[in-house]
Assembly symmetry: C2
Homo-oligomer: 367 residues x 2
Amino acid sequence: MSTASLPDLLAVPADDLLVLTASLVAVPSVSRDEAELADRVERRLDERAPGLALARVGNTVVARTELGRNRRIVLGGHLDTVPANGNEVPQLDGDVLHGLGSADMKGGLAVLLRLAEEISAGNEPRFDCTLAFYEGEEIADEFNGLRHVFAEQPALLAGDFAILLEPTGGHIEAGCQGTLHLRAHFDGERAHSARPWKGTNAIHAAADVLARLAAHDSDTVLVDGLPYRESLQVVRIDGGVANNVVPDTCTIVVNRRFAPQHSIDEARTQVEALLEDADRIEVVDGSPAAPPNLGHPLVAEFVDVLGLPVEPKLGWTDVARFASRSVPAVNFGPGDPDVAHTADEQVTRASVEQCYAALARFLGVDA
Amino acid sequence: MSTASLPDLLAVPADDLLVLTASLVAVPSVSRDEAELADRVERRLDERAPGLALARVGNTVVARTELGRNRRIVLGGHLDTVPANGNEVPQLDGDVLHGLGSADMKGGLAVLLRLAEEISAGNEPRFDCTLAFYEGEEIADEFNGLRHVFAEQPALLAGDFAILLEPTGGHIEAGCQGTLHLRAHFDGERAHSARPWKGTNAIHAAADVLARLAAHDSDTVLVDGLPYRESLQVVRIDGGVANNVVPDTCTIVVNRRFAPQHSIDEARTQVEALLEDADRIEVVDGSPAAPPNLGHPLVAEFVDVLGLPVEPKLGWTDVARFASRSVPAVNFGPGDPDVAHTADEQVTRASVEQCYAALARFLGVDA
């Protein structure tokens, strides 16, 4: 099928998941510009999944069943993509779709749309289901649609278990590591660089700390049997006044990724110990880790029904947003995470179909 | 004398050196804006020192005797100042003049103007004399007036010994250290900071070099019995892409100050050895050192006649520009170098008068 003949998102049948994904890719939705895609998703759900209750908060669309089940599963997919990289036009090449957001995560959105339509058509799941199509995941947390819905209408996202359709390459990703950025300031005293002994070089003052951070060997921590490989990186450094001046300031930013057994405060204490020669330390931002929760009955059942490998998530995802509200959550979605955010982003027909089939099986929505 | 009653530069008598200095301070001449002061100096020399031959190159004014002496002394003072710091209006407080450029180096310019006028009035020196009032000393070398005259009309600056009237606080400063800036680049490979082992952190790659530079102990080298204290400073560092990205680049700038026994190439080799883990090293700029030349007959005579302490110059000055042309040169001028470039810059009546008296004695221009 050529790109020119791609059916409109509102017209494509849900059972061709790859073409549905392509039709989603064809509607640009770079972060902060998700309104058009949110409108179309909302209209498609309204037309094709009338059995679900629709709500909208900003550019986040939430579709919910009200079947009276005693447990509710929340399934989430973000509408936004990173900026285009010459790949904004979807290209279908046999059973492979290339294009911005194909893996991260419009393949997942296609799976959610089909689930909504199957459920609405009477193929009822054994759980109540909440399907959230949300904005602002790829940028600063203040724009995150789940954050806004939790703040404004938290009942819309209430549930017993959450599945986020981030690309996981056929695995289940459980939990996620926390992330913490600290900024450390080193002070000095200016002097002419021809007479440096009259001042104190702030860059030199940072040298020992930098060497200690560079040499730091992070742990790999087992949680529920999953290996969380922690890390510590200096991600920015800046110092200097002029080429003839002994610098009086040097600043570094450190990113700590920490396993789910640690709180943000524990991570902060660990890193501050390594920064002990700094003159001032401030927290730039921090997000807590999420435990894998493999012992939780719904997580255990999900893993059992899918029969797929479980891996630890090392980056931070919205899984932690549910975990912080005591809702166990996993990532499970179509596409290879390694191609996300690259010019050659792509997704295969098999991966979207297998993801749909696995979720349908777990939910009891058998086609 | 209140500031309001300061005589114009063209009217003030040369024998009141402190008021003459104040009248020079009253004409702003921040680097690149020296035209007004150059015009007034040129006009004053034309009116009050008609016995000297005048030349102008850009905003540099050169006044020369043609007495047929077999040796020629070049005396130089720069017209420009650093930017004002709330001190642009001269303030005479008894025998102390406060204001931008009072020490660096309008006190020296006043001494030169008086010398020119005494010589022109028939008080003939035992050497031919060249007095250079030049632009662009406080900024990048490309703007330096001496550089331009040497390039365009080098005969104007020919001589056997040069004296630069930089503030030296009553001492003679002999020779000057060289200066060399190298920029070292450390390369890495970007990766998400949650999976840093997929990349290489360029800031971490710089850590060992930085620690080595910070720990480096520079030598103090005796040349002609003068102690030249060398130094090595990291004056800038910059690295980082984004807070979630393992950085692929880190750059440092190192400033080496080296004693007169070393060439620029030797200094470069020394610093490059310390930077050996860098991926690329480039020279930002370099200026050679100048030997003190205390054994040269004119330098020895100058030191002997003045009877003042001789100290090594640690910063770079235009002394090296003459030395690189095999003309021995010293710094000797009124004012405390430690107040130069500060908001409280000042010069005393005694320092300008003593400087004038010392130079007049050496030149044989006795009042």
